[in-house]
Amino acid sequence: MTDGFQLVVCGSLVPDPLQTLEPVSTPQGPGLKNEMMLPSVLDPWAAHALYEAADLAKRFPGSKVWLVSLGPKAKLQQLMMTVAQKVPFELIALDGSASGFTDALGVAEALAGAIEAIPGLDKSRLLVFGGCASASRDAGVTLQVVGERLGIRDQFVGVDMLTVRPEGGFEVLERIEGGQYQVSVCAGAPAVLAWATGNLPEPPNNPQIGMANMRGVMPALQKAKPAAAGVGGMAYGDVELPSQKRQTRIVKDATADEIAREIVEWIKA
């Protein structure tokens, strides 16, 4: 792979996992209370995909990373203040809802359109990355449909490792049932890889990378096209928080022996 890869990472924002979420009804369908005010993070699995893409780009000269992100423009701008400091990429922003209640098919259509519009896109070098699911909709559908829309027939889901082989092509480890990996060898790009956690830690903030990225981020946000991704044909009924408050018994002054006996009895019951 002398010319490097064209790595397109699809990923957007989700509410910070520590935030309390409360569903509300809106004219566009279900939403979250104070959705625009909730602190956001880059979707965790998409973040892993971005770090893996950046690592691959660093190891294969001539590679380039794009981050295609669909979300409210103002929130994307906030998100980029932190994400842009992690790894080098070029942002392609789409202005629309990042709600977990939107239909994955509409989102995929918007993302595929944005990828196709990348100037100089060479599909023979293209690897489309993203998370295996989002922490919002959690459907695990979007990337595969993006791949179909782009005519990519080699797709992998739940990826934890991609190893480029010296003789060409690459090996992929995908999560399957029972805590195992399915091992596949693909002839090469183009391919879609929906990442699980991968193997890389979160890169530390690098202000120099941040400054370089931000030069492209602001223009990308300014020219972000509106994306009409909504609930599509989904007719929602009840959307609610689970009422699973338990009566917790707190055992404070028991000995380890007493506790152990109780636990063993419970396990064996």
Binding site: A139, S184, Q247
Partner: protein, 341 residues
């Protein structure tokens, strides 16, 4: 008459996985509720023989694709096979298990079929007029929502552990073979096998009655001011060996590993449960050295009985998330538990 198709795949040995039989139960119920015809479709090695094992399910037709091309779980060939099978069956509603194989290929197949798709379905209900309402979680098991769609075909990918596995008589299904013209570029990927993650033993056991979750506390400094990682490893592995429990981890514990610090060597991101991990289904769960804060506790959403051992009486587990919280040192308790077991 509309058709509900139970779509399944075989395992490496040619048998149907439990999740497939669960999907058959869901499809049978939907067909009965809506007065639709039930069809069964099976792809994979030994598809025809597998269809025979569910011949007594009351399906009006059986469709199979057992070409060598669909022996491995590969996106391109699976998507082509599913597309051809759903078209042959003329199904308006397709119910399939949420296995890794189908989660990989069904979204792409739905695009080829011009269909709509929803995954992680945890409940489904049909009406005599053919309308179907389903339920699934949003925001990683934090919000539960129900919805319906008018569009057809509609692919419903059901979570495992939600429906009872179908049980009934085997027989002769007289399945019809669907011919598929697999594209030449559909085999650029070769599945070479399965590999267990780097670990001493297989610790993820989806069918185990107990989930044991270890938190980062196992790797922290203990009463003597020193971490006791080897002792923690021994206690946990002994417990897993004696109980055959499935091992889960908090995010903080597996993150320690990816940051290069010394930690439990048999633990990987595959074990992680919670907001950014898995949400397994087990009858019982025991948490040790974990904080039951919301992102972690969503991993316990489908654990029926929950107990925790924690030094902090004010930790998140005590806030109505566990049934019992033992305020104690997990090292002491688990050592004694292992002795008693």
């Amino acid at each position: 008459m509309t058709t509900v198709l139970a779509l399944m795949h075989t395992q490496e040995d040619g048998s149907l996985p439990k999740a497939a039989r669960e999907a058959l139960t869901a499809a049978s119920q939907l067909a009965a509720q809506s007065g639709a015809a039930l069809s069964v479709g099976v792809i994979g090695k030994g598809a025809s023989a597998a269809a025979d094992t569910v011949a007594g399910c009351g399906a009006a037709s059986f469709w199979v694709i057992g070409d060598e091309a669909v022996y491995p779980a590969r996106y391109a060939t699976d998507a082509a096979a599913v597309t051809a099978l759903v078209k042959a069956a003329g199904a308006q509603i397709v119910v399939a298990p949420g296995s890794s194989r189908f989660m990989r290929c069904l979204p792409g197949a739905s695009y080829r079929l011009g269909a709509v798709i929803d995954t992680h379905i945890v409940a489904q209900q049909a009406a005599p007029d053919g309308s179907v309402r389903v339920q699934r979680w949003f925001y990683r098991q934090r919000i539960l929502g129900s919805f319906s769609r008018a569009a057809r075909p509609w692919l419903l990918v059901v979570d495992s552990g939600v429906n009872a596995p179908w049980e009934g008589a085997a027989g002769s299904a007289s399945a019809q073979t669907v011919e598929v013209a697999f594209a030449e570029d559909g085999q650029r990927t070769t599945v070479t096998g399965a590999r267990a993650p780097a670990a001493d033993a297989q610790t993820i056991r989806p069918d185990a009655p107990l989930l044991f979750v270890a938190g980062a506390g196992w790797t922290k400094k203990q009463k003597d001011g020193q971490p006791h990682i080897a002792e923690a490893s021994g206690l946990i592995q002994t417990f897993l060996g004696k109980t055959q429990a499935s091992l889960g981890s908090s995010k903080s514990l597996v993150d320690i590993q990816s940051e290069g610090q010394e930690t439990l060597h048999f633990m990987s991101h595959m074990n992680q449960i919670g907001q950014t991990g898995s949400t397994p289904r087990h009858p019982k769960g025991l948490a040790t050295c974990c904080h039951g804060e919301e992102p972690h506790a969503v991993g316990w959403r489908f654990i029926n009985e929950r107990r925790a051992v924690n030094l902090d009486p004010n930790c998140g587990w005590a806030q109505g998330k566990a049934d019992v919280v033992y305020v104690a040192d997990a090292f002491d308790v688990m050592a004694r538990v292992n002795e008693l077991l």
